[in-house]
Symmetry: D2
Subunit: 414 residues, 4 copies
Amino acid sequence: MLQLDIHPTGRHFLQIPGPSPVPDRILRAMSLPTIDHRGPEFGTLGLKVLGGIKQIFKTKHPVAIYPASGTGAWEAALANTLSPGDHVLMYETGHFASLWQKMATRLGLSTEFLAWSGKDEQLPAAPSWRRGVQADLIEARLRKDTEKKIKAVCVVHNETSTGVTSDIASVRKAIDAAGHPALLMVDSISGLASADFRHDEWGVDVTISGSQKGLMLPPGISFNALSPRALEASKSAKLPRAFWAWDEIVEMNKDGYWPYTPNTNLLYGLSESLDMLLAEGLDNVFARHQRWAAGVRAAVDAWGLPIQCADPAVYSPVLTGVITPEGVDADALRRLIHQRFDLSLGTGLGKLKGRMFRMGHLGDSNDLTLVAMVAGVEMGMKLSGIKLAGSGVQAAMDHFASHAAAHAGLQKAA
Amino acid sequence: MLQLDIHPTGRHFLQIPGPSPVPDRILRAMSLPTIDHRGPEFGTLGLKVLGGIKQIFKTKHPVAIYPASGTGAWEAALANTLSPGDHVLMYETGHFASLWQKMATRLGLSTEFLAWSGKDEQLPAAPSWRRGVQADLIEARLRKDTEKKIKAVCVVHNETSTGVTSDIASVRKAIDAAGHPALLMVDSISGLASADFRHDEWGVDVTISGSQKGLMLPPGISFNALSPRALEASKSAKLPRAFWAWDEIVEMNKDGYWPYTPNTNLLYGLSESLDMLLAEGLDNVFARHQRWAAGVRAAVDAWGLPIQCADPAVYSPVLTGVITPEGVDADALRRLIHQRFDLSLGTGLGKLKGRMFRMGHLGDSNDLTLVAMVAGVEMGMKLSGIKLAGSGVQAAMDHFASHAAAHAGLQKAA
Amino acid sequence: MLQLDIHPTGRHFLQIPGPSPVPDRILRAMSLPTIDHRGPEFGTLGLKVLGGIKQIFKTKHPVAIYPASGTGAWEAALANTLSPGDHVLMYETGHFASLWQKMATRLGLSTEFLAWSGKDEQLPAAPSWRRGVQADLIEARLRKDTEKKIKAVCVVHNETSTGVTSDIASVRKAIDAAGHPALLMVDSISGLASADFRHDEWGVDVTISGSQKGLMLPPGISFNALSPRALEASKSAKLPRAFWAWDEIVEMNKDGYWPYTPNTNLLYGLSESLDMLLAEGLDNVFARHQRWAAGVRAAVDAWGLPIQCADPAVYSPVLTGVITPEGVDADALRRLIHQRFDLSLGTGLGKLKGRMFRMGHLGDSNDLTLVAMVAGVEMGMKLSGIKLAGSGVQAAMDHFASHAAAHAGLQKAA
Amino acid sequence: MLQLDIHPTGRHFLQIPGPSPVPDRILRAMSLPTIDHRGPEFGTLGLKVLGGIKQIFKTKHPVAIYPASGTGAWEAALANTLSPGDHVLMYETGHFASLWQKMATRLGLSTEFLAWSGKDEQLPAAPSWRRGVQADLIEARLRKDTEKKIKAVCVVHNETSTGVTSDIASVRKAIDAAGHPALLMVDSISGLASADFRHDEWGVDVTISGSQKGLMLPPGISFNALSPRALEASKSAKLPRAFWAWDEIVEMNKDGYWPYTPNTNLLYGLSESLDMLLAEGLDNVFARHQRWAAGVRAAVDAWGLPIQCADPAVYSPVLTGVITPEGVDADALRRLIHQRFDLSLGTGLGKLKGRMFRMGHLGDSNDLTLVAMVAGVEMGMKLSGIKLAGSGVQAAMDHFASHAAAHAGLQKAA
């Protein structure tokens, strides 16, 4: 048997911002025997998950479920709606926005990468990686595009590399204010089912998401939530596509099937995930993540370290990036914490490599797990010789003790 | 909990030609907690499965593992090696060859579809669906291509829709005999790890495969085994690609990682599958499938029904297609058998719809399971009023009783 | 990892008369994390299984659930109701009745072992092992006991060693007809949840059962279903007891807890088992077993071999014993079948060692699995040189094809 | 599906002193299909676990493995070695010692219950519940027993109700010093595989243990490790016994089988547990528990609360009892902590009800999990209005940061 943890005992603390810890219920559901993907039971499963996932995206329109991890769904969104050479306006919120832009270029699109151009003392190399999407910049750019050459505006909802959750409704307003027909495509891979998201109400044309974050599944499933305009655009889009093509998927999904082999066992997990999330209620899910994030940020504040996200209005409920002091190698710190305390943290990506680490607080977690995470980070920083202003653990405990969750278990206690 | 089987008790007989039954060891391995795909344990896992899968393909060159089901790997093979408008020679062995050809066209390639043009009394509509790839037709066509416009020859190793396993070595010989530089791309989605396959020795440039057949995993992982020539071709190929692009995958695979999130839990299953297959030995695996296939064919012969594959030289060790008598709706028969005997069979696809059914005999099976399958089919046919020449079950039993497997358990018995 | 099957692939056919195959749902439920056996969630679980198991026994009185395998529940029944030297009337139906009698003696009770004393040509050494309990013998004996020295009558409902299901109602009638106050204790370890059983209606005082048969669980849980008279008797019974003592268990069970640590994970399995059985309906469960048993007996008849049970009125729906021809070592046959066909059969026990084998047809099974079992036995017998009168497999298939189950799946097919 | 946790998300912190958290590897192993307990694969499993468990007890003599939870193994030890009316010297270390004494009385033995008679200000009602076994009291008592009426000395190694680990070697020395032939019986249900234990070296005659503590299994298996003297005593012991009888078990265990149905799936778990413990090495296992216990005690000291165990020489490495301030209902505190922080603690048992709680630190745990436990307790105490002298969490973190574990993962980090 492969050794999946180098530590002799205990449960690993998987506190990266995804894949998030997978609940036991889901792992057990996934391990049931594979069934015939053309048989009647599968149709029932298919219709259930296709219906349920719409509630998570808050949409009445089709959601394509891909048997592929999230990066594929980025490609799907572009390939189904655009033609070679089309001009796309993207926005640089961080590493994943950059990767998506790189992908768009690679697929033969003409990309333009907007970014906040202010100054940032702590991270002079990446000021726009500390803030959300600035809708006014988008609006201004679109107003200039009198020939409507821009075919799509692409933004990231929750930037997994930085811990910033942008205001998607404001982007839609900006597009509308500019009277521009561009499609709005949103990556909510790490936002969905953790941060508030409303595909229809916010006028998103394609929302991209994945299984391994708020949905609490292992990686391997990804999504495109569609709008009628996106479906219309797909009819004339010229980028070649087959596996990602919406047409056959949407058609066959009507009966709960797929044009090719879906990844059945992950769909068992999705079915279980939907049962769990819808039973809890999305509003409770979002409130839970906000409580957790506030507790973790209280710890970072107590340490006297800068939170990666510089704008409190767009703090992520999913993860918190922490900028390490000058001279500290954040990755060496992460390695020490992993080896000594059996805790995985997210690395600084791209422009942030070595300058920050990321603490995930999403999905199947709870208050004590997050206190443990904060404690592991705090011990690791002390062992690394980092001077801290105060006790982050105490701050987190103060937060969690004074902010109770609103759930059945607690009410019973009252 | 979703009802994955409408029958009240007992284990479902999943006898479609893939997904094949997943062994308990693999299901349990897949249900272990998800780990950090950037952590040190993952690197160990990655290197193990990347090394092991090469032994299955019998190649020394890289194998790209995709977190996507098999259809995606078809697209990957084309998109990495070809440019828009390139001419591709494909060969019609059945429904999956046809789907691949349709995909190639959809991706903007120019396709030419060779087929055996002889006459077939039993299936006049699809004579080439009863035979393997005719290498001489390919050689003749390539010889005519003096301008070397044909960039690739694409064939299916084991046609899952018909039960025909083509001679891939002969196709390589045909290409070489014609002195043609076309790449050889082979779909062995349902052949790998059940039927003899030798990527390097047979001179295949790209072999496509999937997880849910001989590897005994749920669907969700697919493969491209590469040759140096294929890698070279990918440098100048112009079809747009990102998720499927070999370059970043091959580069990052050197350390056991992927450029994007792999589907970790299915890789746990792959690790277990490799342990099982390599411990048994591929030659034993192939012999086991040949024994099974011969037993099932003995039953079909006893029934007096035509086997879909008309050429005994290319009988598939993976599945056996059975042509139903005129006037019998093969799908109605399949439904009755499923509902009455908890047994799933493969449907007749495309041109064969309603005219045949397919019995899978691959992966995690054994003699008695196959006798049960034959019994379920035989009872179903009798209940449907089909006249049979004799007892298929008796014929299968005679075969299995007189042909012992060569494995440890049996030797102990001696 | 331990090798739990010496065969390289496929699912083992576990056709012993218990432990029976455990459904995947139950195995998955059992693998959920262990909880605090003193916490509130456990109380909910405890009340659920304690309530559900009463429906299975068809009783309104307490059922003690032991975290111990079935043999312990035999001891519990005796130790809670009797005093050292008490005289007990037991009935020899087979090996398990004999073991129980041996245990009673070992515990310091005075035992009397009734048996049918007729002649049996096929098994002259054990004529009473081919028939059920003869209630008239019991009545006659009780009538003679004018001093009421007999404190209990102990019989086995379904004799797992022979395949005989005795008429328990007739035993109660016999006791009543004799006007005797003896307690009626019944071992239904292998009968419960497969063969009709009615604790209250049949006037049983203690019913003993276990988890690994009709309840489809692994071994490790056993039961004592009680009557008010049994509880009353326990107040004055003098045999020493602690672990098995009903008093504390019944008291603490009122809130869903146990006086000592219960085996939590098997109780998860029991909860799932109860959900499955009660959803199907006990009458359907019993009918399913009767259909199966009839099909298996049809095969034995076709072979021309004697069924162990000589009285068709008490054929067991759970298992069928087959007497092998003189000169055939039934255990050598079983070994060959196991090694060659991955099929486990029950051995001949005690007086029947080497003279018979047992085919289990209980719990989580289905028609095709039983046909496979019959086929494995038939092939094994032929390989052993046993002459058979005809095809048992054909007879079983004829039975199953003409006798449809009454369940949802089938009705859908209509 | 039963709701095994009233909290909506996250992993429950099961910090009772057993059942301890079960590792995923063990849960998965337990969920493999049940095999024939009379078949060849079972014999291999049986021999493996019977051999491995001897290494855990550090004995060369037989260990009886019961398919029953730990309380049964107490009864087994007494019933196999003693006769009705035999006089037994037991020692009151806490609630479990008291329950065992109560059981011995119930089984018809004459019991004498020694206890430390000093004064204790914090717990005047139970001074002996704060200290270990005083070997000198035992020696003095045995010296007085000139007629050798005392047949056995029974002590608890690790008192789960108090957190005291008695010095067993000293008890053997006391018996030998008194020149007394009494058997030494030791309950190490919660000590085995967490605290140092040496059955042979310490001259123990019967060691009783269970699965759900240091062995990290669910409850359901228990043990009697035997000495030649114990086996000799069993030949003449007169207490009735059958299920618990060593003779048949020891005899059949020679081939890896049991006289009755063992609980197969828990034995799969035991096999996995043995692999894990023996791979880590028992000395490392013990050192790990000592580090953990010291960290938890540092927290209790920082809080300024009394540790239940008043003698540092016998602090338990398995659990730590904490005496709550006068006027605080420890059980109300536990309930609040469970409901608010998803953390289960052990209750105060018997004489300690409401006066203390117990923190388990055993088995499949790690540093951060224990910090989380300490944090949960600390938050709960503050919410309950308990005044604490200082931060227990900080003290625990200081301990764990300065005391590194000696294992592979850490060494890699160096």
